[in-house]
Symmetry: C2
Subunit: 190 residues, 2 copies
């Protein structure tokens, strides 16, 4: 039984106790969304598959008259999660439309390059605002589980670094781009 990458997100989100599909989506949106998103169209079918595989167990748990099903890890599910954690992470994918446009900027005679950098900067500034809001609102017990906060700090520092880079690159381009060049290039054949 092969699990989709997102199925592990679900297993992980149940590590501290039972949750509904709806809650999993909320938590994802406030934490892993920045490096791993998940939609309802993934979560609900995957929860079913996990239940069928015996890795999670669902039970009805209405919340104040609203019907709802919460899922918890089974022993097999916890084992699967631990085994997965013990495997070397491999998957790392990036799709960055801003970098792509910057790469091709010469096709518009370079006139868009600065705007592209500014737009990329804005994207990461928006991410920073979201992450800062998460940091403000979160009330996690760091002694019980410090790792989500460690990852949040990564997200903050990472996006700050990118914002800085965009500024530096913009300054460089506006200065004439000389600094962007390596010391020797065409002439280093020899």
């Amino acid at each position: 039984m092969e699990l989709s990458p997102t199925a592990y997100v679900i297993l992980g989100m149940l590590r501290h106790g039972a949750r509904s599909g709806y809650e999993i989506k909320q938590v994802v949106d406030n934490s892993t969304r920045f490096f791993w998103a998940a939609s309802y169209g993934q979560i609900y079918p995957d929860l079913r598959k996990l239940a069928k595989a015996g890795l999670v167990a669902g039970e009805p748990k209405p919340q104040g008259g609203r019907k709802r099903t919460v899922y918890r890890l089974t022993a097999a599910g916890r084992r699967t999660l631990r085994d997965w954690l013990a495997e070397e992470p491999e998957l790392l994918e990036l799709r960055d439309e801003g970098l792509l446009k910057l790469f091709f900027a010469e096709a518009a005679d370079g006139r868009r390059a600065v705007e592209i950098l500014e737009a990329k900067r804005r994207i990461h500034e928006r991410k920073l605002e979201q992450l800062r809001a998460v940091e403000r609102d979160a009330s996690v017990d760091l002694d019980a589980d410090p790792y989500p906060y460690l990852v949040l700090r990564y997200g903050l520092a990472f996006n700050e670094w990118i914002v800085d880079w965009c500024e530096r690159a913009k300054a460089e381009l506006e200065a004439g781009g000389e600094a962007a060049k390596p010391r020797r290039r065409k002439s280093d054949a020899r």
Copy 2:
């Protein structure tokens, strides 16, 4: 006629002249791969679609007896590329299995956290090696088009930053994780 994101990669790769599908794949693997990959299964069908839409034109151009088709941008294709460059970049996706495992590390009592960080660090060090090889081998004319090199420098600096972060985070965890905590947390209710 909607174009897939990867179709714009193809258009962009033809900005300086005609290329075959095979060549496009080579160039992608040595440049945009680090933030935008593309497989033959995407490139060849997309080239056909672009040709049918009149954005590129293919003509047979055998290379020393080997048959091969090169594609060039049509006027409409160049226009499409420029229009796309003028639009704000939006798409930015990240899938980072290492961060995900770090996030969930508590499910293995935190015992895997350092190993996960080390594995992530290795991933980015491998990327750095690849990017450095690209930098060594590339012989681009920076006066004609400095942007690919700018993006390459981004890739280098970006991966170096992540390697550093992994080291710092590892040191922090090994020191007991105290530094990872914000100054006040549970006690700041008030």
